[in-house]
Symmetry: D2
Subunit: 342 residues, 4 copies
């Protein structure tokens, strides 16, 4: 099989490295270009020694890439920067973006949550939201796919089908979530030091976390009316993994049945038996999202659980799943390695 | 000052060791007896090498203790066992119990949650619930004080004053909580192995955690009507610390003001400014409970945070605080060491 | 390609689960039988939920397995038990054993280190020692291959070629090593609890660790004379990974050159540039062993580093590498997935 | 008792916070000034929330401190900066310095290891090396005491008495050591992120670690001849704690006896029985150093172990121990709290 030529813009961060890790054993992709502005000139082995056995192109600046040789780029750059880079790319290049820049369809909502006007309004409307299991057909024919927020993906898998089916009360959704450290990226910040993160737990960005904008957009679309949920994210002293524990008003049996039916044909959503709840460690390193449903002791209320690896199903694995569709490959190509436990 | 003679029944568990740690620098207590049935004959240094510099009595069986020499015992035994041991102790001995056996005032409720009849019904009614800041006067004159569940304490500090003041809707309380591994004790269980706990997160005992019985009892008392909350506990890959994130219906400003006033004179409750949330790592090893209040983005809703060290304020520190009162000592004696961070 | 039928005896431990994980994406193997005496009747998903998406046979007892349907078994049972099980298997069945039972060629040495006579003396002499890069030809034609100790493998990769080449002083080898928790297996032991392992470091089995018997056997063979090294193993608060730091008398440049040449054609040995040292986290989940060489500041002395994942290159990955040879498959089949970092 | 007035220069780092933590319950010291140039104007609670209950002066710049009100300062500033700050302090102010600036008595050695001339040569010669148990009398009358390197202290406790007694071969000392993350301080560096440190192990600064200069100085003094050891430091995925595993030529029984006698009267050195080895977690948060001695299986060789908490006995606790002597207080004042385990 001829392999598709892949570029990764922003390869010096964790999502970039994770793309390289997954593509290394992908049967239909090969890496043709890697960029990292500040580390241009370095080898990937210097930046990520765990990849030292791979035969990879050197890191270059974006300007040095010959995009005529590339079939698809993954863009793993910071938000805001991304808009400017993506606008300047050839108009026929397929792009899977992992930043927040093209997730929100309404420019006003983008401006409200990110604090500035969007720099690429035309592309913002063109972009397809990258939650594969809900936008599969659109993604297949899309030129630009916007990867979801990792927390946003975790919350949407259990909730969106229930809002669509009218099985839960839209005004009483509370999403409480714990997320691994790698979600904060590799830039050096005091708050992400081992000494500051390990052996403890705390909430962050309380009542103002940007992934709520995605919940609002997608939950409202699913419910056919405005939905605003409560959401609190906590930082977990672990590198990978997100667990969302979600409190809803609705019947556990009906909810479990509906989710089981909705995801019966999905290879990456693993539905647990009613009453069981997932562990983040059981999805580590994999593209799976594990879902659990339990009856609350308060009558008519249900507790939902959703677990995924923020760097895989929440970012780079999701991106490859979408790219597989965009390139006409099997959707699960390169993504079936089981989780790494312990 | 003459020191009070202290016995610790069940000194080979983590709460026992933590009592010894705290008493080692306590100005008004000294350890006169340590028991541990299966480790009788061992030195404490063999069982807990971190305490090897202390001059301590050997571990003995309970039968070997001369209780006429003891002013107060801490009982750190498993539930059910505790009832039988405590019933057999001299009737004039002061007792601070750390098990679940005397927390629930209603024998029927005890039987429902613990699956068997209570073996010491008379003492069950005599026991005072050990949440010091709420039962201080009763504790001062009590002979038997029942230490609270560690999760139960964490949830009660922010909620009980609000129910008493009628500031929150009693039927819409959701307590989502993460708790450190040491709360499970030192007995060898597969699920508590490092390989099974580290680098991940999961909920446990969903909708059937026994600490809910304490919430029911104390919240209903505070509200003057039956209160049933939702509660989910998660296991944190950290040894110490509990963080409760609590979703309530009520006004954040009024709630923050009420909690600040309620705890203004309390030495161990540290109230954070409105909008800030605590870290478990900032209370580690200490007897503090840190409380935070933030306005939810859903109008009229508030998110509460409560953090404490499960082995100190949630168990052994709380027990010493109560014992200080029972012995006529300063309530904070031996308990003012700051948290250990990082 | 027709896949070879594989049995795993002792599938309920970490090495068993790791074999399943690796075989799940192996192009030439499929799992035909899984045994676990105490968990017989359970599904693998119940015992290891991270593998819940796989279509696997139920766990059965060894007696229930029809070995005529099996091409090769991996035996991941405790030592001593293994001898008895392996003796009773069909004489034409290919076996890769992961226990300590067939590593030592001299029965007297076995008895000395393991405290009892060997129960399967004939097979002990038949077994080939499973350090693939040194016994490749023997393994290809072997019926029974004995997987090495995980620590033993880590130490041998850097040292054996140097002893063979006479580049280091055989009487001055000191191996100081730190090993991850999963090496101790999944059985519940107080010393392996998260509370007892995390946030600390200690040596164990000082001067009496059984893996020294393998060093003695293989180092002496390589040097052509008796070699006894110093060896200390420490328990690392991490689940996977072994790092050996080794102090030898010899020239760093010559040593680096010799190792680079020796391993130039090896796919799983990654040689670092002179002066660099490896991280265990950069081999996690992979079958790589990373080697480093640095000049000590004491003249004529060199410090060697060797890092591998104890569950992969130190156990299950090594076992599959050997099985690939025994089955005539490509040696690296199923083993080229890059490490998982972070 | 009137308390001595204490200043802490550089209070926004971990050693500064640790000084505050220990002084908070110290019977003879009170904090009169805290400086932190970049955080001047902040409260300590903002910088270190775990200390939020303490009544402390605001952080100021060094220029704002009125040193006539101060009895003793702890200087917890980066090296090189320290020399300039300390030179400018009043000549009668007692100083305990925690940096590397005054540890090396020979200016040429300082220049060689730190890459520049020393800026305060007169004070360099005046300074007393702060390993309390070896320089106690000098410290008592010193004006300037130079705290030791944390790794340097860990290695010296077991080795110096043996060199003094001639019980080990000076040319065959190998110190292999693992150290907690907090030793690297609180400044944001990629290599100290949780994602980069947790779940792994690696050596750093191989054969060029600056603490070797202290070993050379003190070991040579103890032996009465030049001594050069091998030394490798590893980064431990834990916040606190150092374990040194040391390989020497000498008799284990004689060595254990000599160390036991040497440290019999020392309150902070805990000698383990022959054959036992310490855990870092058993000294966490305390001022203890635990020492172990085991006979190697190579005849005539011994393995030594030394464990301490890098922020306490390796830095701030050691500094207070020395300050106690300089101020005429009991040497152990404020330092007897047992370790925090788990």
């Amino acid at each position: 099989m001829t392999k598709h030529k892949i570029g990764i813009l922003g390869a010096s961060g964790y999502t970039g490295a994770e793309l390289v890790r997954l593509i290394a054993t992908h049967p239909g992709m090969q890496i043709a270009a890697l960029t990292a502005d500040r580390k241009a000139g370095s080898s990937m082995a210097e930046v990520f020694p765990h990849l030292r056995h791979l035969d990879l192109p050197r890191l270059v600046t974006i300007g040095e890439v010959d995009f005529t040789e590339i079939d698809l780029v993954f863009c793993a750059l910071p938000h805001a920067t991304t808009q400017q880079v993506v606008s300047a790319l050839p108009r026929d290049l397929k792009i899977v973006d992992l930043s927040a820049d093209f997730r929100l369809r309404d420019p006003a909502v983008y401006a409200q949550w990110y604090g500035h006007e969007h720099f690429a309004l035309d592309m913002q409307t063109e972009a397809v939201y990258g939650l594969t299991e809900f936008y599969r057909d659109d993604i297949r024919s899309a030129r630009l796919v916007a990867g979801t927020g990792c927390n946003a993906a975790t919350g949407q898998y259990p909730i969106v089908p229930l809002l669509e089916a009218g099985l839960i009360e839209p005004d009483q959704i509370i999403i409480d979530l714990a997320t691994g450290v790698s979600g904060a990226g590799r830039s050096a910040k005091e708050g992400m030091l081992h000494s500051e993160v390990s052996e403890g737990f705390h909430a962050y960005n309380v009542a103002r976390h940007r992934h709520m904008a995605e919940f609002d957009q997608e939950f409202s679309k699913a419910a056919g009316r405005a939905v605003v949920c409560s959401f609190t994210a906590h930082l977990l002293p672990a590198n990978r993994g997100i667990l969302a524990t979600i409190y809803v008003k609705g019947d556990a049996g009906a909810i479990h049945g509906a989710l089981a039916r909705r995801y019966a044909g999905e290879r990456f959503i693993r539905m647990l038996p009613l009453g069981e709840s997932p562990h983040t460690r059981h999805v580590r390193g994999s593209n799976f999202c594990d879902l659990g449903v339990a009856s609350d002791r308060r009558a008519g209320r249900t507790i939902l659980f959703s677990a995924l690896d923020n760097l895989v199903k929440g970012a780079s694995g999701q991106a490859i799943q979408n790219a597989n569709l965009m390139l006409g490959l099997d959707e699960s190509a390169g993504l079936m390695a089981p989780p790494l436990f312990p």
